[in-house]
């Protein structure tokens, strides 16, 4: 599961200074990289991860009603473009 987690880095208290090395991403912007064990937020135990199971999706499905999808109404591409996580 660690490979699907991304934790908050320690909050920068000074001006943002980009690190020297950045991970390059090949094709998919959503491709995740394995994190080192123990890399979790020091302050917030909040992580970002992909939805990987039907149970995951079901647990946050109610939030869809909180998102304005007016612009997607009637869009024939909607299922193909917007709902990949359910496939």
């Amino acid at each position: 599961m660690l490979g699907h987690l991304f934790a908050t880095p320690a909050r920068r208290t000074a001006a943002w200074v980009p690190p020297q090395s950045r991970l390059a991403l090949n094709q998919s912007a959503y491709e995740l990289h394995t994190l080192s064990p123990g890399r979790r937020a020091a302050r917030d135990d909040l992580v970002l991860r992909h939805l990987t199971t039907a149970e995951d999706i079901d647990s946050i499905r109610f939030l869809r009603s909180h998102i304005d999808l007016t612009h997607s109404a009637g869009d024939p591409r909607f299922e193909a473009v917007e709902k990949k996580e359910t496939k």
Binding site: A15, R64, H66, L69
Partner: protein
């Protein structure tokens, strides 16, 4: 993607690359006659941001969710230039505190009665503003319903469409 806190999924966010005609931001900017300038260079649309009502703790809570999202982009994509989003006027005022600027107001969505505010921020500025949060505890379960009113109100209208 989803935010997880203590094993519980508490929210979602989506980032879509700008420049492929996939995003609402591009569609509305074109309708509004807003030139891309350099904002499409390594640009991303942040959207589908929705946080569980139990975790809507106000601007500082939102700051934590955004900071995590943008840190993910930074650490996984090189480089990140600009951030775009579409939202309500109320939310636009909030995001100005995080380094975004309003680029279009009351931009209509063709075929609907809906209008949007278009916001943009250069990544380096936004992440710097987010990093300046004063609160020690930025993301936690809201202790009282009243404390979640602010974000509840905004996300019910679509935090980021």
């Amino acid at each position: 993607m989803a935010f997880e806190l203590d094993g519980e999924l508490v929210g979602t966010v989506r980032a879509v690359p700008i420049g492929y005609g996939l995003t609402l931001a591009e569609q509305l900017r074109e309708q509004a006659g807003l030139a891309p300038r350099d904002t499409y260079l390594n640009g991303w649309e942040m959207g589908r941001l929705a946080i569980s009502p139990d975790y809507r703790g106000g601007p500082e809570s939102l700051r934590g969710f955004l900071y995590l999202s943008l840190s993910f982009l930074h650490d996984n994509i090189s480089p990140v230039g600009s951030l775009h989003a579409t939202c309500t006027p109320v939310l636009a005022r909030l995001y100005r505190r995080f380094g975004f600027t309003v680029e279009g107001r009351d931009v209509p969505l063709l075929g609907t009665a809906k209008t949007y505010t278009l916001i943009h921020g250069y990544f380096e500025r936004v992440i710097a503003e987010l990093a300046q949060g004063e609160g020690e505890e930025t993301v936690s379960r809201a202790p009282q319903a009243a404390h979640s009113r602010f974000i509840t109100t905004t996300t019910s209208q679509g935090a980021f469409a």
